[in-house]
């Protein structure tokens, strides 16, 4: 069986913000770097990030500082976020922004020539450094430009299908992947590996996530023995498009509310005044998403099943300058002029707080030589992520993962991957290909999986329904063996989806198990049968791989030092 072999010091999976930032950091440490990425270079889901990077540079609200950012992150994460990560994030975010600027990024400016900042849900001050509503694009282009002028080897449109480990020492040895354009398999031998493959939004039917967000890296890490954490924590963004059907789930950036947009139900009531009298439209995402959900459940919804989001009062010039992407998105996809008409919006699956468990300082997992950063990792955001914190996350922890993976690589010998391991992996992937045509392909099972998630693990959860969902997922997993698709290994979407389906179904089971386990309501995890938050559950739920089956365990939070706990104050239970 034919395959190519490559080797490097640091192998990076993913070419979004976290992956590219990690690659730059590893190159800075004089390591050889290979990046493999499922999508074309520059297309990763980071381009979809709209609102901005949260950093307390205090250009607009001069009272802002890292302590307030730290407190906002922990409090809105409903107190189960990792405090060490939150401290690192809050302290390093301003530097991460300025560093990006020195790499060539051009942020919007204040009158006196500093980086402009806007208000966002859950942030005490105006904190989000931004470029209109296209901040993610600016980040990806800046990092892409940086990486193209460095000596990184990039295999884009290449899907890693498995990680490899040394049987004796248990350390990571690289990955096996499929290059989509050539249809050829390859082994990537590496001293250390960084997983920066993003989230898993496409497990759901209605999501703002792009094609590639299928949780592959998280599943690969789990299968090779890495612990996962907070798998029950899925962020529903309050505002996604609801109409037309083809655009359902597309993100309507929080910047609309940040810039003054107001939410109304079909009766014309500004309902956020009732659910959150103080923070109103700019409360954290879990709160606003639930409020919209309740209004829709009560029947106070619009023609297409959403609520109204209104920014008209700001005037056309302001809207076109500050929200150009939203203006064209609604014009082109819904034929709605948001300077003259209201938008119709409803919650959409947006972000995954859970993922691979890592060490806060080094981003290393429990597997020696395996690192993770960005949405694929977990811990920082706790039970609910603040808008703008993910872009800070990918830069800060991307850099850390790259630096520490490089340090690890410098101490390590170049490992080997046994050819038998590579060949059996190639065989496994090729099993999905049937010789004849007219195979059903993975799409009907994918639909069933997405329906099960949407129906049983939505904004409001309940034991009986979740158990039904779990059974559905288990039955889908038992049918995976039968899934076959047609065609060859070259640029075959059916084959990609077969591989993704297997990963997603595994993660779906972890998500249901963790969600059933957490018998309280906290952050994004809201249960109708346990509507209150409980101090008993101030912990993280872990999933680990015990010879093929999923084992749950509880991990208590490490004690926060006094000088930090004083900043955030008491947590309240009622």
């Amino acid at each position: 069986m034919e395959y190519d072999t490559y080797s490097c010091d640091v192998l990076i999976l993913g070419s979004g913000g976290a992956g590219l930032r990690a690659a730059l950091a590893a190159l800075d440490s004089n390591c050889s770097v290979i990046i493999i990425s499922k999508s074309l270079l520059g297309k990763a889901h980071t381009v979809m990030a709209e609102g901005g990077i949260a950093a307390s540079v205090a250009n607009v609200d001069t009272k802002d500082n890292w302590k307030v950012h730290f407190a906002d992150t922990i409090i809105e994460g409903d107190y189960i976020g990792n405090w060490q990560m939150a401290e690192i994030l809050a302290k390093e975010a301003p530097d991460a922004v300025y560093e990006l600027e020195r790499m060539g990024a051009l942020f919007d400016r204040t009158q006196d020539g500093k980086i402009m900042q806007r208000a966002f849900g859950g942030h005490t001050y105006k904190r989000l450094c931004h470029v209109g509503d296209k901040t993610g694009l600016e980040i990806i282009r800046t990092l892409e430009d940086g990486i193209l002028h460095r000596k990184a080897v990039i295999f884009d449109e290449t899907l890693a299908t498995t990680l490899t480990k040394d049987d004796e020492s248990g350390r990571i040895t690289g990955a096996v992947g499929l290059h989509m354009r050539s249809g050829r398999f390859a082994a990537f031998i590496a001293k250390s590996v960084v997983i920066a493959t993003g989230g898993l939004g496409r497990i759901y039917k209605v999501t703002s996530n792009s094609w590639e967000s299928t949780g592959d890296g998280i599943a690969l890490a789990f299968k090779s023995g890495a612990e996962l954490s907070d798998m029950e924590m899925v962020q529903f963004h309050p505002t996604g498009m609801v109409w037309p059907n083809a655009a359902r789930g597309l993100l309507v950036t929080e910047s609309v509310r940040g810039e003054g947009g107001l939410l109304y139900n079909s009766k014309g009531e500004r309902f956020m005044l009732k659910y959150s009298p103080e923070k109103k439209e700019l409360d954290a995402r879990d709160v606003v998403a639930r409020s919209i959900y309740y209004e829709i459940q009560k029947g106070n919804c619009t023609e297409h099943g959403g609520v109204y989001l209104d920014i008209m009062h700001k005037g056309p010039d302001f809207i076109k300058k500050k929200l150009p992407g939203m203006y064209t998105q609604f014009m082109e996809f819904a034929n709605v002029d948001i300077t003259k008409e209201r938008m119709e919006v409803a919650p959409t699956v947006h972000y995954f707080m859970g993922g691979i468990r890592t060490d806060p300082e080094s981003c290393m997992t429990n597997i020696s030589g395996l690192f993770a950063a960005g949405e694929a990792a977990s811990g920082l955001h706790g039970a609910n992520r603040l808008g703008g914190n993910s872009l800070a996350d990918i830069l800060i922890f991307g850099r850390r993962a790259g630096t520490h993976a490089a340090e690890y690589a410098k101490q390590a010998e170049m490992p080997e991957i046994k050819s038998s391991t590579i060949i059996s992996e190639i065989k496994r992937v090729k099993e999905f290909l049937a010789d004849g045509r007219n195979e059903a392909g993975p799409y009907s099972l994918l639909d069933r999986l997405r329906d099960a998630m949407q129906q049983h693990l939505g904004i409001i959860r309940e034991e009986k329904s979740m158990k039904e969902g779990l059974e559905k997922v288990r039955s889908i997993r038992s049918e995976l063996k039968k899934v076959k698709t047609s065609g060859t290994t070259s640029f075959n979407h059916g084959l990609m989806e077969c591989i993704a389906l297997e990963n997603m179904a595994l993660l779906a089971e972890c998500m249901f198990l963790s969600a059933i386990e957490r018998k309280e309501s906290r952050g994004a995890h809201t249960r109708s049968d346990y509507p209150k938050k409980s101090i008993k559950w101030k912990l993280n739920i872990l999933c680990s791989n015990k010879s093929g089956s999923i084992k749950l365990s509880h991990s208590s939070l490490s004690l926060m030092p006094k000088e930090l706990s004083e900043i955030i104050g008491e947590e309240h239970y009622n």
Partner: protein, 259 residues
């Protein structure tokens, strides 16, 4: 303003170019009937085919929201993004081809990787040395470069450019002039790329027909704001005798804001 059809049960015929270069010596067109729903895009139609009729049809797409630039193709002969072209705006026969200016990977997927090699050879961001921290820049100064930085790298402008399509031409194409202009017009950048573009990258071959500008889904004024200013800057530097003497004498590169 365009209309979105409210007709629910119509169908459209997709005529799609098929070729796997590793197996087929010639390409062919396959026809598919696709049920059309309100608001459906060409990409939705193609995905319907992949999911329900032929999973071997190769297509590249990511965001479905016109933000990533992956799904560029030639729709009834016009270079467009499939995700933001509505079926209802087209005749009921829709012919799809991959971008013809690039080598073919398979079916609708073009190999655009040459663009990254071109980018590698354009000098990157070269900020001026300054002790000023953080940098002070004003909206009015960053706006010009920001226009070019909106580029989503769909490469439709490369596809439509008749100079690029003439494969013997050494012109690097509109996308890369936009890239160079974004760096040249960055308030902190000190390098000049206009002379390189003219002397080595064939910028002079562009005869400003503005086709690139017309197809840009981000509405970047590619010709007016990037190509023409780069041509003028190069002309100043290469052919203005007084300026070039002054530059030599003062040892300056002629960029604003540089001291």
């Amino acid at each position: 303003m365009k209309s979105i059809t409210t007709e629910k049960n119509g169908t459209a015929t997709f005529k799609i170019f098929r070729k796997d270069p590793s197996r087929d010596s010639e390409g062919r067109y396959d026809e598919f009937e696709v049920p059309v729903e309100e608001g459906m895009s060409v990409l939705d139609g193609v995905n319907y085919i992949v999911e329900h009729i032929d999973p071997t049809l190769s297509v590249r797409w990511n965001c479905k929201a016109a933000r990533c630039g992956s799904c560029a193709a030639e729709i009834n002969g016009y270079p467009k993004l499939m995700c933001k072209t509505h079926i209802s705006d087209l005749p009921s026969q829709i012919k799809l081809d991959p971008m013809g200016a690039f080598p073919l990977v398979k079916d609708l997927v073009a190999d655009v990787s040459s663009n990254f090699d071109i980018d590698r050879r354009i000098p990157g961001f070269s900020p001026r040395k300054t002790s000023e921290k953080p940098w002070v820049m004003y909206d009015i100064d960053v706006a010009r470069s920001q226009e070019f930085r909106k580029c989503i790298e769909c490469f439709l402008c490369q596809d439509v450019c008749h100079v690029v399509r003439d494969h013997s031409s050494k012109y690097i194409g509109p996308r890369h002039v936009v890239k160079a202009a974004a760096l040249d017009m960055h308030p902190m950048d000190t390098a000049d790329r206009s002379v390189l573009l003219t002397k080595e990258k064939g910028l002079g071959l562009c005869n400003v027909t503005k086709c690139c500008q017309e197809v840009c889904p981000e509405h970047i004024a590619i010709t007016d704001n990037a190509i023409i200013p780069e041509k003028e800057r190069a002309a100043d530097k290469l052919y203005d005798p007084v300026l070039s003497l002054l530059d030599k004498f003062l040892n300056r590169t002629g960029k604003q804001g540089e001291k």
